[in-house]
Subunit: 157 residues, 3 copies
Amino acid sequence: MSGPGSAADRLRALGLTLPELGRDSNYVNHRAAGSAIHVSGQLPYRDGELLGRGIVGRDVDVPAARACARQAALNALAVAAAAVGDLDRVRIVQMLVFVASTPELGEQSLVADAASELLVQVLGEHGRHARTAIGVAGLPRNSPVEIQLVCTAGSAP
Amino acid sequence: MSGPGSAADRLRALGLTLPELGRDSNYVNHRAAGSAIHVSGQLPYRDGELLGRGIVGRDVDVPAARACARQAALNALAVAAAAVGDLDRVRIVQMLVFVASTPELGEQSLVADAASELLVQVLGEHGRHARTAIGVAGLPRNSPVEIQLVCTAGSAP
Amino acid sequence: MSGPGSAADRLRALGLTLPELGRDSNYVNHRAAGSAIHVSGQLPYRDGELLGRGIVGRDVDVPAARACARQAALNALAVAAAAVGDLDRVRIVQMLVFVASTPELGEQSLVADAASELLVQVLGEHGRHARTAIGVAGLPRNSPVEIQLVCTAGSAP
């Protein structure tokens, strides 16, 4: 498990808050199929600004990309919490981490680890997930990272 | 909702028809896990021809890529309708939009919007979905766009 | 179906064995949501070594990439068998094949076919799946191929 207190306590101890959710006309933040909740791809926005822009390995270094991955994971977690209705009941099933990469980078797992770590710091064992990390040619608005989640709702703790 | 009439009516009003489905020996057009139906990645074929070839931002412009996205979404919808048995019962859950992109493009969401719009034009609220749009290095047969769906079957209207 | 004998028999007849599974601290080999088991992205490791490195179409040719796809699919099958508890009960639902590609390659389906063929050789009809093959900019540790599966557990044969 993940130490004492609620997931909200752990989030606070990390100095983090879940962001407000936006809306889009053609698609939605999440949609469920049976018990699986699919969260739309999230970019590393914080207070309305992308944390970085460009290609990792050329314009963005790995530490900066890790900060982006952490923020995108936080944003995905906010959608998951809203979908489930309670952060403590979020169970992460699968995470796809897209890293805008040069062909030579090879360090996509290191970038994705920052996102995985955040989920485990906040949710403990319930944050552990199946994961795929890949390097893509580019991302919307030249974001260096994009994160997609599948989660389920567990029973209250 | 999506205005009067059936999804087939709306498709006809758009001047569109669902294409015939092909077959492949090693994989299938769709497969279900519980209530979730996974549709194989669809390319923008129309009457046996790809609507475009190459990389968006270099060989293909955004309006042409949007036409490809719309066609690939139509093809995915044909598979979904065949899987569910009735176009009016298709509920889109998740769409992954792969856009073959230069590293600088940044407009993958604009391309993906054309696919999202088609699904909502045909299915109304049932066409709204969780979405992830990414830019990839290249696609099978040098297609500019590929689309993958997850859907479920709703009750008849 | 897939001829006489068990999936393990067919695996042996192909001269293959399922590899041992490793562990990672931040994520897991697989996670289930309802009946769907999500398998983490698998690289073409064999005996602790990647079968190749680099970009297909530049550093790695299509036959070598196909060998990588086959190995990555074998590794994914090992996770699926461990998750389900019995290789004969594995049902493949969806496979995502990521091929590190030059923009010009266009032969990602040919690479992915090697993975699809392995699943069908071992599991017969239960190995047939929805599939998406895409070309990505690069992959973790400069692997040429990465494979992600969704599977379910069927009843014993």
